[in-house]
């Protein structure tokens, strides 16, 4: 038996996989296979085939999470000392196009988890809108494939391809109900805005490519650009500045950071609810991972540092983005009647808080950003799951439709209240610790940011108004006729998945609100690893290994990854 396994592992194919670390991409491969099978099944005309495709999608994404989790454990346990986080893997894949590290592993889990939850609560909603076709989950999974790869992108081409693999399915999803005027309009707006910002980001990338002298891998570009700075007198290249800001602007579009946020409310309002949830969580998480990587490689690696604090002067850009996002998001959310639109502005505001972590760009602050994202996945998806359920039963998205909901749906009212309070940052919820850790770490890194933190706190106060308003409408107002006509009984087979995702998010929100420490350890580990000097030696070594393998060297190639690991 063992001989057989040995023989299998020594086949050229397996050698290639192991040497190139491709097995770390197993979750993505599972997604790919799921999409292929699902599309094949969905090509049938009967309802049964679409049902099958739906279950394929659900099982596939679930399986992908499971494998991602297993790999995540593999990534940070040191087999010798059995301690966590001591020697996390930092491995290149496909000539360092993707970097497998803790950041990637964490964000991949968020992305896949978010995808699974969205799929759970989207089916009933789609069926309600008489759309039973199984293209929807396939598009979602494709977008998630892009999002997941985006988190690991370590190469300009990979960045672009992943960004578009996430983007193009998102455009289709935003306009998924093409007979609905608002929905189609949302799709068009998202496509045009997304296309324009893709062009901007690409122009920036092309300039970076040129300035670095024709390289596309991040570490190589960083090294080359640093060389360029030292050789030039004064070390300043206006073109480089423009290129980096264009890159930043393109990512800020994905993040919906003001002033690149304007697509957000319109698209969120017009898009189908599950898509809104997806865009507000999954693509944000992936974009933040990308931003961390890009900042570490370009913006902050190249920018001169402030003499006093040692913080890169370009962090000022994030001050601008953050302040604008916080203020615009919160203030505009105040007067919204449509809950989807309100959530859109709330997202913008949260992105504003999150960008505070980039103002100081320190290990602790970025770990808090990751933690905030984890909390955000739970609380925002939970809120959207409840909103989806209410929309299913009332068919409306305006806040007035929630009048007196507590009489008919006490559990969902309670759940939505908890999610909204968590978003507002009220204690014993995940959102509180997220804000607490973030603000605390930012101010610890640089006490000059005090005014920013005060501003953020004032903004949280403003946000309390519109979050509590929803709770007030649900609890205090007299039930409207429509709410009166709701039954208390739950329509089990249809809404059970929604209930499941609500409960999962509720548990996440509350557990993180009680016991934040393990998750925080995990994110700290990821950031500590990112902070270490880039192991370019690994890259070089890996290419040597590759050459050796291609040349048919008879050395035991299975042992080689371990060598890389030790380096």
């Amino acid at each position: 038996m063992t001989d057989w396994i040995q023989a299998f592992l020594h086949t050229p194919f397996m050698r290639f996989i192991v040497v190139e670390n491709i097995h770390y991409l197993l979750p993505e491969l599972i997604l790919l296979v799921t999409i292929s099978i699902g599309l094949f099944q969905a090509s049938g005309r009967s309802k049964q085939s679409h049902d099958d495709a739906w279950s394929t999608a659900l099982w596939g994404s679930f399986f992908a999470i499971a494998v991602a989790k297993v790999l995540a454990f593999h990534l940070h346990v040191d087999p010798e000392t059995l301690t966590l986080y001591s020697t996390p893997v930092n491995l290149p894949v496909f000539y360092d196009v993707i970097r497998i590290d803790l950041l990637y592993s964490i964000v991949r889990t968020f992305v896949l988890g978010g995808t699974f939850l969205v799929l759970l609560f989207s089916r009933a909603y789609l069926e309600k809108h008489s759309s039973t076709a199984a293209e929807f989950p396939m598009l979602v999974l494709t977008a998630s494939l892009g999002a997941s790869l985006l988190a690991g992108a370590n190469d300009l081409i990979m960045l672009f391809v992943a960004l578009e693999t996430l983007g193009i399915p998102s455009f289709i999803l935003a306009g998924y109900f093409r007979n609905d005027a608002k929905c189609a309009e949302a799709g068009l707006k998202y496509l045009l805005y997304g296309g324009a910002s893709t062009a901007v980001i690409l122009f920036g990338i092309s300039l970076i490519y040129g300035l670095s002298g024709g390289y596309t891998q991040f570490p190589m570009i960083t090294a080359k650009l640093q060389l360029l700075e030292t050789t030039l007198s004064g070390g300043f290249q206006p073109v480089l500045m423009i290129a980096m800001v264009m890159l930043l602007g393109g990512i800020a579009f994905k993040l919906s950071a003001a002033p690149f946020h304007q697509w957000t409310p319109d698209v969120y309002e017009g898009a189908p609810l599950p898509v809104t949830a997806y865009l507000s969580v999954v693509s944000k998480v992936a974009a933040f991972a990308l931003l961390i990587r890009v900042c570490a490689n370009f913006l902050f690696a190249l920018s001169p540092a402030d003499a006093g604090t040692g913080i890169a002067v370009l962090s000022g850009l994030f001050v601008v983005l953050s302040v604008l996002s916080m203020i615009l998001g919160n203030v505009a959310a105040l007067r919204q009647n449509n809950i989807k639109r309100m959530m859109a502005y709330s997202t913008v505001a949260h992105v504003g808080y999150l960008l505070l972590g980039f103002v100081v760009f320190r290990e602790a602050a970025l770990a808090s950003v990751l933690y905030y994202l984890l909390a955000y996945v739970y609380m925002n998806l939970g809120a959207f799951a409840v909103i989806t359920l209410i929309s299913l039963q009332t068919g409306r998205d305006d806040i007035q439709a929630y009048s007196g909901l507590i009489r008919k749906k006490p559990f969902y009212t309670l759940a939505l209240s908890i999610f909204l309070l968590s978003l507002a940052g009220i204690p014993i919820t995940a959102g509180f610790f997220a804000k607490f850790f973030l603000f605390q770490s930012v101010i610890q890194a640089d006490s000059n940011t005090l005014w920013l933190i005060v501003l953020a706190l004032l903004n949280s106060t403003v946000s309390l108004y519109y979050y509590l308003n929803v709770i007030r409408v649900m609890v205090v107002n007299e039930p409207s006729d429509m709410v009166q006509s709701l039954t208390r009984r739950v329509d089990a087979p249809q809404t059970l998945p929604i209930l499941l995702s609500v409960v999962a998010c509720l548990i996440g929100t509350l557990v993180l609100g009680f016991y934040a420490d393990p998750a925080m350890m995990y994110t700290r580990g990821a950031m500590a690893q990112l902070n270490q000097p880039d192991p370019t030696s690994i890259q070089a070594l890996n290419q040597e290994i590759h050459m050796a393998t291609m040349a048919g060297d008879s050395a035991d190639v299975l042992a080689l990854p371990a060598v890389v690991h030790q380096r």
């Binding site: 707006k189 000022g316 007067r335």
Partner: protein, 675 residues
């Protein structure tokens, strides 16, 4: 696997059992009807079994807790219990780490035993008492939640964790007092209990923060040198006070200790924060027995015991504790004289006994206070359960004037009630006798006036307890309701609890007589007294005028006096003598009957001082502060309109914004980049 160390190392399981039971009950009674639909046939068919399962799960969880505690108790008795604690970081903010964990030492093992043992029998009793109540399963869920919180409190390693569980037991208590929330008095009582406790908890929190503030530097050093220690741990507090008291020399330790004491003052119903406890009797009787007699109200004593070193630093604080305890004992006993509601009489008696315990703590008789806590838990829980049995039998009648003559009709209840009465009166070598004796010994070492007051109050205890016994069981039946028979599920716990009520005090008294019956274990005082106290306790022993034997005789004499008075008043010429006494001491009687006007005091304070002040601030708030707030709010609201106007709906203008955004950011970046 189950070797000696296993029980210690896995003691965290003890609170986990009831927590799991709680989740199970919530799942079965909350989630299942939601999933199947509350009117569906499926739910209807499984509703009955889920009730039984809720009960079984809760009782089993408690039983497992008791089983788990038993080896620890044995280790304690055999003197091979190793103090043990484990901590996990819970909340980390830079250097500031708050932890949760579990701590095993004689004190916590003692409390674990009390809580699990009494809970178990009260939960069995509940099956009989609440059998026909609609909220049967919910009640078991709450019981499990309470057990979890209480056990978590007992196992706390540090003040912070204890504060968390302290609040949790407060919530469970609130839920259980208001269990019959449709009854107005129950709902009011639950709110009153919650508010009163908030007052105390606020003081406690201030005290904890104050203590942390004055000693923070020392803690940081400790955590650096000893990675096993955590912030605010009880072992650390002990080390701080006994090892380097100079750190705290300049701090106002009296104020801090008194602030901390405010928590126990509310939780253990000490004057003047005691008025919630009698009202809390509006809850179901098992709750009165478990939470408001045996366990939760004792948590205040337990907390004082835990942070005893802090109190010892300040003679003023110790004195205040002793005096407040004594006053509570007296006032509550005097009110108990004139109560006709059987549960209220017992509630005031609890209050009075808690006063005894607190007075003992204040007098420096650490072990005596906890010993009384220990014995009192058994007989007071039993007395309450007896009262529940009586109330149940008399069809929810609680007025003792409508009882009487129940001796033959409820034999087990009557016998156990008599045992409880004797025990609480401190007579005939029952449990209460031994622990009350210890308190009196401690009191005479501290101050003679307190000794005499407590001794007289012990006589008063005998009086009001026998009064309630005679009114309920002696004479002839005065009520209209048909008296039911006793229910087995209710009688069994009574019988079981009667055993420790009689014997446990003697077994743990450390008396030399014990050797005659082959009992070789050390006494309670020796077991529980921590190392830092042993020396002091020896030095302080026996400097009062009376020997141990004298004190036993004195308390016994007072007890007999109380019994004789009660016999005269309430058995022989019922209703004539009390009438005469009433007229003779009518002002005093009115004072007692009106509970020393504490409620009126609070009401008048609220009406005459607090509300006018609140009105004034409210006007100031509306006129001035709100004006400013409205101005700001209006500004933000208008800003919202402006922000909406930016969002024109034209995607092309949005794209133009991208372009301008990039240009502006690039310009800003260049400005910053070039110095």
């Amino acid at each position: 696997m189950f070797d000696t160390a296993w029980w210690t190392q896995n003691v965290a399981l003890i609170p986990v059992y009831p927590l799991l039971a709680f989740f199970l009950v919530v799942f079965m009674r909350g989630a299942l009807p939601a999933i199947f639909g509350a009117d569906s046939a499926t739910w209807k068919s499984i509703e009955g079994p889920t009730k039984t399962l809720s009960m079984l799960a809760t009782v089993t969880a408690t039983f497992m807790g008791l089983l788990h505690t038993w080896p620890l108790v044995m280790q304690l008795l055999h003197g091979n219990l190793l103090p043990y604690q484990v901590n996990e970081p819970w909340l980390q903010a830079g250097q500031f780490v708050l932890s949760i964990g579990y701590l095993i030492d004689p004190l916590s093992v003692m409390m674990l035993f009390v809580v699990t043992f009494i809970s178990l029998f009260i939960q069995i009793y509940t099956h009989g008492y609440m059998g026909h109540d609609d909220g049967y399963a919910k009640f078991y869920g709450y019981l499990a939640l309470f057990n979890f919180s209480m056990l978590g409190l007992v196992l706390s390693t540090n003040l912070f964790q204890m504060y968390v569980f302290w609040e949790l037991v407060g919530v469970s208590s609130y839920l259980l007092i208001g269990f019959w929330y449709t009854k107005k008095d129950a709902a009011d009582a639950s709110i009153k209990a919650f508010l009163m406790n908030r007052v105390g908890d606020f003081g406690l929190l201030l005290g904890i923060l104050g203590f942390l503030y004055v000693s923070y530097g020392w803690w940081q050093d400790l955590l650096l040198t000893n990675p096993d220690e955590v912030l605010l741990s009880f072992t650390g507090i002990e080390a701080l006070v006994t090892g380097s008291p100079a750190v705290l020399a300049a701090a106002p330790m009296g104020v801090i200790a008194f602030l901390i004491f405010m928590g126990p003052m509310a939780k253990s119903a000490q004057v003047p924060l005691h008025t919630w406890l009698p009202d809390a009797m509006a809850g179901p009787t098992p709750i009165s027995a478990l939470i408001h007699a045996a366990t939760m109200v004792a948590a205040g004593i337990y907390l004082v015991g835990r942070v005893y070193p802090i109190f010892q630093l300040s003679p003023e604080a110790m004195g205040a504790v002793a005096i407040i305890g004594t006053i509570t004992a007296v006032i509550a006993a005097s009110i108990a004289f004139v109560q006709y509601d059987i549960k209220k009489a017992l509630a005031y008696s609890t209050c009075s006994q808690l006063g005894f315990m607190m007075a003992a703590m204040g007098c420096g008789a650490f072990a005596a206070g906890l010993f009384h806590l220990f014995t009192h838990a058994f007989f007071k829980a039993m007395l309450f359960l007896c009262s529940g049995s009586v109330i149940h039998a008399c069809e929810d009648e609680q007025d003792m004037r409508k009882m009487g003559g129940l001796w033959n009709k409820l034999p087990v209840t009557a016998w156990t009630y008599l045992i409880g009465t004797i025990s609480i009166s401190g007579m005939f070598w029952t449990s209460g006798f031994w622990s009350k004796d210890e308190i009196l010994v401690g009191a005479q070492n501290f101050a003679m006036p307190i000794f005499w007051i407590l001794a007289v109050t012990a006589g008063a205890t005998a009086f009001y307890m026998f009064r309630s016994f005679f009114m309920t069981f002696a004479g002839s039946y005065r009520g209209e309701a048909h008296v039911h028979k006793e229910i087995p599920a209710m009688v069994l716990p009574l019988a079981v609890l009667a055993v420790p009520s009689i014997f446990i005090g003697f077994l743990l008294s450390g008396s030399p007589l014990l050797a005659n019956i082959g009992w070789t274990f050390p006494g309670f005082v020796e077991l529980i007294t921590p190392g830092y106290l042993t020396h002091a306790a020896h030095g302080a022993a026996h400097h009062g005028p009376f020997s141990h034997g004298d004190i036993a005789n004195i308390s016994m004499a007072f007890g007999f006096g109380g019994f004789a008075l009660a016999f005269m008043f309430y058995v022989k010429p019922l209703n004539t003598v009390p009438g005469k006494i009433k007229t003779m001491f009518s002002p005093l009687f009115t004072l007692f009957a009106n509970k020393w006007y504490f409620d009126e005091l609070y009401n008048n304070f609220l009406k005459l001082i607090y509300l006018p002040f609140a009105n004034f601030t409210s006007r100031f708030d509306k006129g001035f502060v709100d004006g400013i707030v409205n101005l700001v709010g209006g500004g933000i609201w208008t800003g919202g309109g402006a922000a909406q106007a930016l969002q024109s709906g034209r995607v092309q203008s949005y794209i133009a914004t991208i372009f301008f955004g990039v240009v502006v950011l690039a310009l800003l970046g260049m400005v910053w980049w070039l110095p």
